[in-house]
């Protein structure tokens, strides 16, 4: 016995060595500056070139740029910076400054840069909050303009009337099949950011000077009606358009006009469209221009940058913000610079795109950088989409938007203090631990008594248990504590224990029960299809007919291909006009097309269908493995007894694959219950109107995104407890924790 245990130790040592080598990749970061940014590929190319130049001028310094998607950069940066790490510079849109400044995870820049230096910038490029400078922008813009296809629209419209008139003229059914092949205007009109120009055109805005929402206004109602009319009355825009659909219609020359931002223009040129840029139209009713939001983009410095390193970081920032570099970038990627010295440069004044871009910037409104904006977007989106889906009237939508925005801002700002609770909870926890120890005292005695007898079993179980415990224990306890705290935007560093108030909030949340019900439907439907399809296919494949090897390999492909791209492909397939699913329904099955992504029930069905497709191969693999454990003789004996196939299935196959399938089904349920990705991708984060959420996606959107960490932790804990209750029940029913023999 002794010898074999030492064999095992050798094995463990081998693994430790493997781990060690895999871990030996720590890097020296003293002379290294890391920038996180959300630049698109063309901008990134320019940045990389400029950084190379900087590194050549400053030998010994290594600058690394890392692309991150905007949302992910924001949440990733918060985690890293709160953890005392993160990049030295963070580059992004001005609105990320709001939360970062409040959390005190970036440095105030007015203490670092002289006022003479700052004076050189356009005032819109200096991002202040609470009287301090937090970001220096190198680009003004991110603004929407009208983009037009010169082949279809030789002269762009100046007013909304002209827009509608040209739109009508260019919306055509070219082959007379009753379907429109070319639209006058397309854009991502279901997203509030792309709706703002019309709100401002009617004289509305989103916040007042005290950052209170101003959404329930006559201007809002008029703007909503205007969009509705474009689609239903004037019929110059498609009935369903998200960003990708709008983009593709314009690129394929199937649309005369488009509303899109400066980031997109060059891609239209690359797609072979002879395009022009023009200001968004003047609204005749008000005499105001439709004004887009203008959002500068620029650099902030991580609060964790040490004093010794700071001069180099500042040096780099000044290099990247210099007039020469800005001009170079502007001319190449058509973004607008922030240094005043550059504005008079003849090269800039000659560029047709940049001239029109400048005009639009001058008729734009700066994007408010306050954290409240996030609540505004989240409040606008569902009601706006509900108007477009015909579910509610514009008047009702305006009221709902205002109500939701006020609620969300209150939630964002809400904070609790309860100094007594800290002691209560601590005492409570100690008591619970003591109580637990008391309850299991007999087990501990038995454990020590039988330690020698059971040593072999512990030895086999321990490595796996330790590794799981090591990873999960601390995060779990951390979340338990946070769920009892007031950790939020205002209390990210100095949170304190406030008791069970967050849990009370979870259960009094009116949406909780509705979303919970949807989660159950989602989980049960998915897992039923996964298991039934998986087992059925495995049974057929197990018949070992010629060609099954090929089928087997092809059938696992949905599991093998990365989820992200297939989920988005499915979203495309569900498109009302151009998706292949409706095409099959109409053409081959003579059914009417389904508005998959526009109505709540259908959208939820679409997400479920996608997830069934993604998940059945895995169950099939497990069922295939499980079938191998059944002795062939059993079937032969049954054949002799004249058993029918369903008898064999019921009495032999199912009972015998159960031990292997139960763990997979249990975990499958747990995973599906918490599957955020597919919902997020296919329904575009809960669209339409936040009606396709399950609990995890809901907590992510309604709490995590609003920086309500205490509440989000409590919500997650409730999810955990629901699953735990289910798990215990299910295991008791199936007796899966017991040994068979």
């Amino acid at each position: 016995m002794q010898k074999h245990i030492s064999d095992h130790i050798k094995l463990l040592i081998t693994f430790s060595v493997l781990f060690f080598f895999a871990g030996c990749t720590q890097i020296n970061r003293e002379n290294e500056i890391v920038i996180w940014h959300n630049m698109r590929p063309e901008e990134k190319t320019v940045l990389q070139r400029q950084l190379d130049e900087f590194m050549q001028q400053n030998p010994g310094i290594n600058v690394i740029e890392l692309y991150k998607e905007t949302e992910e950069m924001r949440s990733g940066y918060i985690i890293a910076a709160v953890g005392g790490q993160g990049p030295d510079l963070i580059y992004g849109p001005s609105d990320q400054v709001g939360p970062f400044a409040e959390m005190e995870i970036i440095k105030p820049l007015d203490e670092i840069f002289s006022s003479d230096y700052i004076y050189n910038f356009n005032e819109n490029a200096l991002i202040y909050s609470d009287g301090k400078l937090w970001q220096l922008a190198d680009k003004l813009g991110n603004h929407l303009t009208l983009v037009y296809n010169k082949a279809l629209v030789p002269v762009p419209p100046k007013t909304d009337k002209e827009l509608i008139e040209i739109g009508k003229r260019t919306t055509l059914d070219l082959n007379n099949n009753g379907r429109i092949d070319q639209y006058g205007l397309v854009w991502n009109y279901t997203e509030p950011y792309f709706f703002i120009p019309f709100l401002t055109g009617f004289g509305g805005w989103v916040l007042d000077s005290l950052n209170n929402p101003t959404l329930n206004t006559p201007e809002m109602i008029k703007a909503l009606k205007f969009i509705q009319d474009l689609r239903d009355k004037h019929k110059i825009i498609p009935s369903e358009a998200d960003y990708d659909i709008a983009d593709i219609l314009f690129k394929e020359g199937k649309s005369g006009m488009m509303i899109n931002g400066d980031w997109s223009w060059s891609s239209y040129g690359n797609a072979g469209i002879d395009y022009g840029i023009s200001m968004l139209p003047l609204m005749t009713e008000t005499g105001l221009y439709a004004r887009p939001m203008v959002a500068p983009k620029g650099y902030s410095i991580n609060v964790n940058v040490e004093d010794e390193k700071l001069p180099v970081v500042v040096e780099l920032m000044k290099f990247l913000l210099s007039p020469e570099k800005q001009l170079e970038t502007s001319l190449e990627v058509k973004t607008f610079p922030s240094r005043k010295e550059v504005y008079e440069n003849p090269k800039l004044l000659e560029d047709e795109i940049l001239i029109h871009s400048k005009k639009q910037i001058d008729e734009g409104i700066p994007l408010p950088i306050v954290t409240e904006m996030r609540a505004i977007w989240d409040a606008m989106r569902p009601s706006y989409q509900a108007v477009l889906g015909g579910a509610i009237t514009p008047e009702r939508a305006a009221r709902n938007m205002q109500r939701d925005a006020e609620l969300k801002i209150r939630e964002l700002r809400e904070t609790y203090e309860n100094p007594v609770m800290e002691v209560v909870i601590q005492t409570g926890m100690i008591l619970i631990v003591l109580l637990l120890l008391y309850i299991i005292r007999k087990s501990i005695v038995a454990f020590l008594k039988n330690l020698k007898r059971d040593a072999f079993a512990y030895y086999l179980v321990l490595p796996a248990m330790l590794i799981m415990l090591a990873v999960i224990f601390y995060p779990f306890v951390y979340n338990l504590i946070i769920s009892l705290s007031n950790m939020s935007l205002a209390h990210i560093h100095d949170w304190s224990i406030v008791g069970f108030i967050q849990y009370v909030k979870v259960f009094t949340e009116p949406q909780f029960y509705e979303v919970f019900l949807k989660t159950i439907i989602w989980t049960l439907t998915n897992i039923t299809f996964h298991v039934v399809l998986g087992v059925a296919l495995a049974l057929l494949l197990n018949r070992k007919l010629p060609g099954t090897t090929l089928f087997r390999t092809l059938l696992i492909l949905p599991w093998a291909v990365p989820q992200y791209i297939v989920a988005l492909t499915w979203r495309g397939m569900f498109n009302y006009e151009y998706g292949s699913i409706n095409l099959i329904l109409v053409k081959y099955l003579s059914l009417s097309p389904v508005e998959w992504l526009k109505s709540p029930v259908e959208a939820f069905a679409a997400v479920i269908i996608t997830n069934i497709w993604l998940g059945f191969p895995f169950m099939m693999i497990i069922a295939l493995g499980a079938l191998q454990s059944i002795p062939q003789e059993l079937y032969e004996a049954a054949d002799i007894d004249g058993a029918k196939w369903y008898h064999k299935l019921k009495n032999i196959t199912i009972p015998l694959i159960k031990p292997v399938m139960i763990p997979a089904i249990t975990l499958g349920i747990v995973w599906t219950f918490n599957n955020l990705n597919v919902i997020w991708l296919v329904s575009n984060a809960g669209e339409p109107s936040d009606k396709t959420h399950i609990l995890v996606s809901y907590v992510y959107k309604a709490a995590f995104n609003l920086y309500r960490y205490g509440y989000a932790a409590a919500f997650s804990f409730v999810i955990f407890l629901i699953l735990l209750a289910f798990g215990l029940l299910f295991l008791r029913k199936t007796k899966a924790t017991e040994s068979v023999y």
Binding site: L18, P41, A470, N479, S580, L624, N674
Partner: protein
């Protein structure tokens, strides 16, 4: 009569398999279409599988101008170690849970399961803080431990379930023949559990091969990038390099499929248990 019935069953088997293969393949064919479309379009108003101006330039770009092979190599190392760890630890732990009675067994079984129940997003911040304190940021060791812990719960349970189907009498006769407990395990039972080991290996491999969120937080050094991180770098707000992304996604699935084909031999051999049992 009997042959005729069998023929009908076979025909239906094929019809069902073919139908499902088409359903399984169609979206992936769409991904292929994106990968050969000339100018980075995720969608198209045309449903043609072979788009106008089809080109393989994205695949060439992937292998020549991008550090794609580096990502493949990094991911192979990480996934390889996670797979070995997963198989080694799950096969032993599962065995103990299936065969022995010991104090704390029920708690361990449920405990393993509970690690999967907490929404992963919420675990990210504390996990990150923990890894900083342990000095495991920007290291494969950190990520391998996290991935192993993620893959193990399923693997352990699944192994336990499979061992449960193997009769205890096999070990008993091995013990009579002079094997000790460990030998009885790895000489007799371990090989018989081949299908379950295959599933464990595939699952561990896939966990590490496709994971993105934890990797994005822990690995900040581009030289350490795994495939999902690399692929993500083709993406950007509203202007993703869809052609490259699609091409890379398809290439990335090839090793998974290859692994499956190689391991299939043990997954469906059918020789193992049937022949000893009964």
């Amino acid at each position: 009569m009997k042959n005729k019935k069998l023929l009908i069953i076979n025909i239906f088997t094929y019809i069902f398999l073919i139908a499902f293969t088409i359903i399984a393949l169609y979206p992936i064919l769409n991904v292929f279409t994106i990968s050969i479309r000339p100018n980075d379009r995720l969608l198209s108003t045309s449903l043609a599988i072979i788009p106008e101006g089809a080109t393989f330039k994205q695949y060439i770009e992937l292998f020549t101008n991008r550090p794609f092979l580096l990502w493949v190599w990094n991911s192979t190392i990480v996934s390889g170690v996670v797979t070995i760890t997963g198989v080694a630890l799950a096969s032993t732990a599962g065995y103990a849970l299936s065969r022995f009675k010991f104090i704390g067994k029920q708690v361990s079984m449920v405990g393993i399961l509970t690690t999967q129940m907490f929404p992963a997003t919420m675990l990210l911040l504390p996990m990150y803080i923990m890894l900083i304190k342990l000095g495991l940021l920007n290291s494969y060791l950190g990520i391998i431990i996290v991935y192993s812990a993620t893959a193990l719960p399923f693997c352990v349970w699944q192994m336990k379930g499979y061992y449960d189907t193997i009769p205890f009498s096999l070990e008993e006769s091995a013990r009579i023949d002079g094997c000790n407990r460990l030998q009885a395990f790895y000489k007799i039972i371990f090989p018989l559990a081949a299908p379950a080991l295959v599933i464990t290996a595939l699952f561990s491999f896939m966990t590490a091969w496709s994971e993105y969120i934890v990797a994005a937080q822990i690995l900040q050094d581009t030289k350490l990038y795994t495939l999902p991180l690399g692929l993500k770098s083709f993406q950007s707000n509203l202007t993703t390099e869809w052609g490259l992304y699609a091409a890379a996604s398809l290439v990335v699935s090839i090793p998974v499929v290859a692994l499956f084909i190689i391991l299939s031999k043990w997954l469906v051999s059918g020789l193992t248990l049937g022949s000893v049992k009964g």
